[in-house]
Structures are given as C-alpha cells and as structure tokens.
Symmetry: C2
Subunit: 232 residues, 2 copies
C-alpha cells in the first residue's frame, strides 16, 4: 500500500475496493463458484502450481482462471494449454489486481460461458508479497505461496500477506537440499503471525506434497457446496 | 503503483516524491556521497549481497546503509555486524521506500555522524519487484537484483524495474545447476527491455561474480568523485 498519500484517501480507496469485492463475491455465490486468490512474490511458482493443478483436477472440477500480470499473456498462454478458460488481465503499472479489474474479468466469463457451469475460479495475482493482500477481489479464500529460496524470515518481514492467508504453500521443496533452509523455523515464524493457517510444503516439479494441496482445494469447493445446500 | 485512484492524484504523488528525491540527491552531492538504490522481489538476496559487499569493501570505502523493511530490524541487525552505520526505516504497510522516508534517514545520518566522511550510501529497498522502481529516493543509480530461481520471463512481466536499472545482478547463480535456467534467454529478455544495463551474474554464497559487482560499485563512486573534481 502506498502510504505516501493521506490516510483518509487510503481508507476511501480500500472501502470502494471492498464494496466491489463484495459484489464480485455475491456473483460467485449466485453462480455456485468457489473463488480462491493466489498470491506470492514474483517467481514463487504460482503458474507452475496452476499447471500441475489443472492437469490433475480439470475434469473432476470445472475450473476457470483469472490471470493477472502487469504486461504480457505469457502465463495465460501457459495455462490455456490445459483447455480451461483463462481470462488475462493486464494491470499496466498497477502492482496488484483489484475488485474492479476482476469484475471486468467476470463480465467476460459471463459473456462467453455459462458461469453456473463452473465449480472453481482460481485468480493468479500479480507477483508481489505486499500489495495484493490489501485488495480483496471477491475471493472466498486466500492462498499465499512462499518458495524455500526466499528465506524463513519472510512471514515476519511481510506480515500482512501471511496474516491474511487461509492456506500457505511452501513451494520449490525440491531445492531445499541445496539451501540452508529450515522448515521448522519457517513454521515457527508463520505460527507467530497466523497460527490457524493451513501450511503445505510441496514441489510442483517433483509432485511432492501436491496431493495435500489438491485435498485442501477440494475441501474448499465442498465447503461452498455445503453452504449452497444449506441456503437452498 | 496503485492505479485505483485517479491519474491526477497519482501524478501529484509522484511529483511530490520527485521533488523530495531531488533534495536528497542535492544533500548527497553536497556531502560527496554516491547513493545507490538496491531493489528486487523478496528473497532475491539483497541483504546477503550487502553482507558480502561490506565484508570486502568496508575500509576501502566508507559506507553507510539505509535499510527499508515493512517491519522488524532483522536485516539491519545482520548488517550492523560489519561495523557500518545502518539506518533502519520501517515502512509499516507501505510497499516501498519513498523520498520522505529516506530524508528522515539522512537526517539521522547527519545528526549522528559527519556525512562528509562517507563515500557510499547503499539503500536496501523493501522486497518488491514493482513499486520501488517508481519512487526515486535521491539515488545516483538503481541496482536491480533477480535470482535465478525467479525465472527468465520476469524482465518481460515486470518491465518498469528492469527499464529503470543501471545495473542488474542475477543472483543465486550457485542454484542454476538445479534449475531449468537459461542465462542467455534471460539476457535476451533483458536486452528487449533495457539493452544498456550492466548485467552481472553472481553468487553471494560461493563468491562467483562478486568481483565484477565490486568493480562496478567502485566505478560508480569514482564517477561521483570525478564530477566533484570537475565541479570544484
């Protein structure tokens, strides 16, 4: 968050975004879609994990992706290979997706498909460990990724993202043997910031741990399904 | 940059910051200090490189560090071991250092030391591959770091940081053998965005390539020294 401008402006900005996020969430709820917001620093492996996830779960679940990048459709093109709708949003100079951008993406989803057919929308945010955590887009849950190469101190140094996360994926576990990486120290640091978070170490490259991620993902879709059943 | 607020506000914000950066640069020039702004995503190895740099060059050059972090003084404490002044700035929820924050740091430097004694101030920015590139702090040069684990596509996906950089350090080269990493492809992508940048691959862990970085660093201090000599 750019705190250079004044506090009142900042509060207005976040309030306007929150109202837009609430409208997006109401759309998702109406369509019976679970939406998850994937966030991390650049290069932590969001797209690689989505590739693995689409390869494994597309078919079992009906998935669409909203792909946020400052420029290019490089990531969107990687995911289109898996035969799912990928809505690319270029944020330009903006360092995060906001509710208004995602509303534009949902408008395209509604125009090109019947959104009621989908179970799950995965939002891949701009690679940034700070700002995306403050801008809800209408998601039901937040997934943060941190790669083993980034260091165990990051939850303490960038607390907002880790406080907000429902699930924290520790990625690139295959590289851990080549680093001075201590998963227990990382888990202790995470515990100081967010003791409730579901922590899943994994490697999209080797597949280690990805079943636990798929299990968590299915549980989130089921929770939504149950809520709908209760509401009906 | 948060583009959610309107364009006029954004221009005002950047103009106000630029004026503050110009004042900081005038202070640096008056004191005969070269200032470099180190920027990267989180965990690319800025602090590890600074440790290596202070261990090698402290003594040959009189160095101070301005250390930006959202919270904690973890990085500042790592660098204080090297016996140089480290001015820690906690940015709170802000995703980057700005000129005003650095002005506060310079005020502390001036209060506690004679700033004319210093050759070089190294600013370690908040770990963020987007926003710091848009907020000058009064530096004479920008150094971007990208670790080999982050992927060759990053210059295309986060162009502003790479356009602005005078020197681009490709870090964690020791991990390259364990990745599908292609330095030539990365260099080609960098060339599309900023063909003038000085590109230095290195590993702070093994020491490979760090001499080229020290060489570039010395050349920057010399350039400033020459400018002073011309001005005198």
């Amino acid at each position: 968050m750019h705190q250079t401008f004044n506090a009142a402006l900042e509060i207005n900005l976040l309030h306007a975004n929150q109202a837009g996020a609430d409208r997006n969430r109401a759309d998702f709820d109406r369509w019976g879609i679970t939406c998850l917001n994937l966030m991390s620093g650049p290069g932590a492996g969001k797209t690689a994990l989505l590739e693995k996830t689409l390869a494994a779960l597309n078919g079992e679940l009906k998935i669409a992706v909203i792909e946020g990048d400052m420029t290019t459709e490089l990531d969107a093109d990687r995911l289109r290979c898996y035969g799912v709708p990928v809505i690319a949003i270029n944020t330009g100079r903006s360092c995060h997706l906001d509710a208004k951008m995602v509303a534009g993406g949902l408008h395209r989803l509604e125009h090109e498909y019947d959104p009621r057919e989908f179970d799950l929308v995965l939002v891949e945010n701009v690679g940034n460990l700070v700002c995306p955590a403050e801008f809800e887009v209408g998601e039901h849950g937040k997934v943060a990724l941190l790669s083993v190469t980034e260091g165990e101190d990051k939850p303490l140094k960038y607390p907002i993202m880790f406080q907000e996360a429902d699930c924290l994926l520790i990625t690139k576990l295959d590289l851990a043997p080549y680093l001075d990486f201590d998963l227990e120290r990382l888990a202790a640091n995470v515990g100081q910031i967010n003791p409730q978070v579901t922590l899943i170490p994994l490697s999209a490259k080797t597949g280690q741990g990805v079943d636990a991620w798929f299990h968590w993902l299915r549980s989130q879709v089921r929770v939504m399904g149950t809520q709908e059943a209760v509401a009906a």
